[in-house]
């Protein structure tokens, strides 16, 4: 009786392992297909001219995405300037005050914010900034994106700081170091790799966001570095080129997509590198 039993169990084992591998493969497939298509269609378009020239009017050949690259970088900087200090401060507050009404309020709002559809955040930024100023602007786009970055930074900062042993804080306080210097000079440096990783991942997350930019940064055919004027961005430029009826512009959309994907990939790789290399040993 044992022989058959064992055989059946082994067969089940192999079947199970096979299924796990199969589904794991299927889940990877879309990523590789996306990378394959974008690289295949996009890389041919990329040249110096594409990277450094502005979009041209309809009917004129050529053109590029320079203003979109500059716009995306500006939006990243703007949203970072707003969300990084707020996010880190909220993360510090949460790790320092584990209980309490304010802490649980912040935690709840972080979760809700993380689940808020990006288009809703765009509308909010429209109501807050665009409507009162009566113009689309880079500033409103930056604010919309900063709201999207915020929960990621708060969460990673909190999780990182929670892992720092309490005895380090005690060591610093026992030397007569004031509380604020203990946080700034002992706790934050010990958690720097985790915090930076969180910032980079949140930047990677917002670089590709289009929806919140539709009624805020709006898009711009021309070069603009004024934060109170509409600004172009890579995702918006992809949308614009892809919706056009011209084959050349379609290929431009692939090219811009390629740049965007490479940017996100590089950000993720740097984040990974930092989290491994700069990790503090306790």
């Amino acid at each position: 009786m044992t022989g058959n039993h064992v055989k059946r169990r082994l067969a089940e084992d192999i079947f199970f392992k096979g299924m796990v591998c199969l589904f794991a493969f299927i889940s990877l497939l879309p990523l590789f297909l996306i990378l394959y298509y974008i690289t295949k269609n996009g890389i041919a378009v990329i040249d110096w001219d594409f990277l450094t020239s502005l979009p041209r009017p309809i009917g004129e050949a050529g053109g590029g995405v320079f203003n979109a690259i500059v716009g995306t970088l500006m939006l990243i900087i703007l949203s970072g300037v707003i969300s990084i200090p707020c996010g880190i401060a909220a993360g510090i507050y949460l790790s320092e005050n584990k209980a309490g009404k304010l802490a649980s309020g912040i935690r709840l709002s972080v979760v809700v914010l993380q689940g808020t559809p990006s288009i809703v955040i765009g509308i909010i930024a429209y109501i807050w900034i665009v409507a009162p100023l009566k113009t689309f602007s880079a500033l409103s786009g930056g604010i919309a994106l900063s709201i999207m970055m915020l929960p990621v930074i708060v969460k990673t900062t909190e999780e990182t700081l929670k892992l720092i042993p309490y005895h380090l804080k005690e060591a610093s306080l026992a030397l007569g170091v004031p509380y604020y210097r203990t946080i700034l000079k002992v706790i934050l440096p010990s958690g720097i790799s985790g915090i930076l990783t969180g910032i980079l991942l949140s930047v990677a997350r917002i670089t590709g966001e289009t929806a919140p930019l539709l009624f805020t940064a709006f898009g711009n055919q021309f070069m603009n570095i004024n934060i109170f004027k509409p600004i172009d961005s890579l995702p918006y430029r992809i949308f614009y080129y892809a919706m056009s009826p011209y084959p050349e512009w379609h290929s431009f959309a692939w090219g811009a997509s390629f740049i965007l994907v490479v940017l996100t990939l590089v950000l993720n790789l740097i984040a990974r590198g930092i989290s491994v290399k700069w990790k503090t040993r306790f």
Binding site: P165, A174, V186
Partner: protein, 252 residues
């Protein structure tokens, strides 16, 4: 009076409604190792944490009575000023992981933003590491991270860090309980050497350690100071029955 470093009078401490220390009276003279021993949970760690007011980090902590450090009321001082005069070494070695050995020794100055010229800092680092008997082992690796050292070396680094501030008194909270026997005996020898320059208050649950290194011993039981006196006397002719029972291993 000149010979008294720490004076504790009618001192009580509570966390919320829980009274941990009851009417402690204790006088620690200069340049001795004073051991606080007692079974775990008796309040000895709370007592030394009251000396540098680290117990205030726990919400709901209250105290009554008086504690003076060289005739200065500890509870009238700013904690950050007090803690610069009172060094502390913890159970677990806790060098700062982001700093080198050199930076760890001068962490008290660096983190407090006290600016000192480089040659003087070099001197403080060398003297402190020599005092903590670590200099010969690390003098060629001062710029490596402190966390690469062994447990015993890390603890001596923490002692050097406390010594660098020239404290009036050093609080040692079971400093060898996380270390192996060899590192333990090195650190015990170090304490005997160090008392020429600094007064030490040593919390230990190891009776033999109290006997080996201390000059005076306090026995604390259930938050009360049962007996306090010269170590030799207490270990040979204890006055209180409870001390005798503790020393002979009947409880604790």
């Amino acid at each position: 009076m000149e010979n008294t470093v720490l004076k504790i009078e009618n001192f009580s401490a509570s966390f919320g409604d829980n009274r941990i220390l009851k009417d402690i009276n204790l006088t620690v003279p200069r340049n001795v190792v004073a051991a606080l021993m007692g079974p775990s949970g008796c309040g000895k760690t709370t007592l030394i944490r009251c000396v540098n007011r680290m117990h205030e980090l726990i919400p709901g902590a209250t105290v009554s009575g008086r504690m003076t450090l060289i005739d200065e009321d500890i509870y009238a001082m700013q904690p950050i000023i007090l803690r610069r005069k009172v060094g502390m070494v913890f159970q677990k070695p806790n060098p700062f992981p982001t700093m080198s050995i050199y930076e760890n020794v001068i962490a008290g100055y660096k983190l407090n933003g006290i600016r000192i010229p480089k040659p003087e800092l070099d001197n403080i680092v060398e003297q402190s590491l020599k005092k903590s008997a670590l200099w010969d082992e690390v003098k060629d690796a001062l710029h490596r991270k402190g966390t690469f050292l062994s447990g015993g070396q890390q603890q001596r680094l923490c002692i050097a860090r406390a010594l660098a501030m020239n404290p009036e008194i050093m609080l040692l909270d079971e400093p060898t309980s996380a270390l192996d026997p060899k590192s333990t005996s090195q650190i015990e020898e170090l304490f005997v050497e160090l008392k020429k320059n600094v007064t030490m208050l040593l919390v230990t649950h190891n009776i033999a350690q109290a006997a080996r290194v201390s000059d005076v011993t306090a026995f604390i039981y259930l938050g009360e100071l049962i007996e306090f006196g010269p170590t030799e006397k207490m270990f040979t002719v204890p006055k209180d029955k409870r001390t005798e029972e503790y020393l002979t291993g009947k409880f604790g």
